[in-house]
Symmetry: C2
Subunit: 321 residues, 2 copies
């Protein structure tokens, strides 16, 4: 558990200052309908309005801004088919660096196009973890680029922590802070910000049942990864990392799981009643409220809406008609 | 043209004060992507975040708040299958009155459910204008309810004018203000607010080619209604009224038309890049920019996004794949 002690409050505050010229200070919004439905006061931190459409812009920006000129001239690299790929490509372009992105060859066209739009240099590989890692290794060797892991990296965690920091600064006296959990970059950062800046608040994470490695690992106090999990919440298929897990074990109060249908129902509820676009992963904490997996009655609850990148041609509710 | 002179600045300011306890002061948002695309500074007034999901809540609230106790005890009535039906039902419930809503029997389930949710008392009729009017007449006779027309009513126009008023108050030095036009309630109100509170701004309206009665009437200086127009922008199928048309003739600077494909493209652009949900009618001014129907280069442009009520099971871009 020693890793968590390395990210002090000052590190998070430093990340916030560092990235603030580049990222959006996203709005916090409320909904009378959802407050009434859940008999509580909910404050949604809208990272769907963040640069590149997700909180991932925070961590990626923090990471690239911490590199020196020589490192920047070699570029950065990662394997990702999701928001981190876009975020790192975008962040690298801010500092005139290059981003080498390894993507599985079956990545959706829309995600490939988005990474290209942000200037990422894509190398396709077979859609296995092994192929992704070996392809990345050969790129790192060939280019000398710096690997920026999507979540198991303190620079990334400190960056993601700034979303909760802003929420805590803006909304006083939160009783509960909720976030989804995949690899744990957002959740570990959120729990650290709560710990330092709003220790009275409980941190509750929500995770798809079908990718419940964080729930199992948290419950058993032992890392038990998911193997090839299938969930519509595509941002949450990854398992915790060696840095994120100890932070989560120490600073998160509860992890709950939700089923696929609740995720879709929650996503639709947010779209229809709040008129904002969120991706399935972002709806997972609201799904937990729909399933009454945690009691928030009468509480002031901050929820981090993690992102809004969805393929509008592939909306999930059609499957549940 | 004498009617326009009856809605003075003080009437609009009075409406703003009257309705402010009940409606949302909606946010004004910007998008770097759209600013870059259109080489201008665009300020979107988000009436999709308004009560009942559309600017219509403003006019309906203003109208019911101007009724006396005896009138309120009889209730209000209208024929509408759209946002006005929801808005009037909601506004009537605010003052413990009743709203009698005549809806064509082929109205979508989702709209019928929304009106019921807000407490509207629905009477179905055949889907013709004649049936709607005769059914409404018999309800007015039977109940003594007060008819509240969706747009051809000064109380409604003054209410809708408050959206542009708020925009002008919040964003200084606008060069252009854009709104969609259907029956002209929003547009006439917007043009009056511009006239009184930001006379330096040009008011530019956008209308579907396939429901272009306002464009034709404006160009010919003579009211030429549409007959059974078909457009995806369902809020804009109505023709101008005897009160809205003279105001528009006097205070609007330009009306442009857009095709159906541009409306869908504009709607998708807003959803994907701004991560907010707008209905087709709301996207019509942005469609005009995509079609380069008006030159906004280098200008500060306010655009009223009129609403966000869409059936998520019937998204239009599937037709254009």
């Amino acid at each position: 558990m020693n890793e968590s002690s390395q990210i002090q409050a000052g590190i998070i505050l430093g990340a916030a200052t560092r990235i603030s010229p580049y990222i959006n200070r996203t709005p916090v919004i409320t909904s009378h309908t959802l407050n009434r439905l859940f008999e509580s006061q909910i404050f949604f931190k809208c990272e769907n309005f963040q640069k590149v459409g997700a909180f991932k812009a925070r961590g990626a920006t923090n990471a690239v801004l911490l590199l020196d000129q020589q490192q920047l001239s070699s570029g950065v690299a990662t394997h990702s088919s999701g928001n981190h790929a876009q975020a790192l490509s975008w962040a690298a372009s801010l500092v005139n660096s290059k981003a080498y992105i390894v993507m599985p060859e079956n990545s959706s066209k829309i995600k490939v196009a988005a990474v290209r739009d942000y200037g990422g240099i894509i190398t396709f590989c077979e859609p296995t973890l092994q192929a992704r890692e070996s392809t990345l290794a050969s790129i790192l060797e060939k280019t000398g680029a710096i690997e920026i892991h999507p979540y198991n990296d303190e620079r990334i965690i400190a960056g993601q922590a700034t979303a909760a920091l802003e929420l805590i600064e803006e909304i006083k006296n939160l009783d509960i802070i909720m976030a989804p959990v995949g690899g744990g970059g957002l959740l570990s950062g959120t729990s650290l910000s709560a710990h330092y800046f709003r220790p009275e608040a409980k941190v509750i994470a929500a995770e798809p049942e079908q990718a419940a490695d964080a729930f199992r690992s948290f419950t058993n106090q032992k890392f038990i990864p998911s193997e090839n999990p299938q969930t519509i919440a595509d941002g949450l298929r990854t398992s915790l990392g060696s840095i994120t897990f100890p932070i989560i074990l120490r600073h998160v109060h509860q992890i709950v799981t939700v089923n696929e249908e609740s995720i879709v129902t929650a996503m639709r509820l947010i779209w229809e009643r709040m008129k904002i676009i969120v991706e399935p992963s972002a709806a997972v904490p609201v799904a937990a409220l729909l399933e009454k997996k945690t009691n928030i009655k009468g509480k002031r609850v901050g929820i981090i809406l993690s992102g809004g990148n969805v393929d509008l041609d592939e909306l999930p509710w059609r499957k549940y008609e």
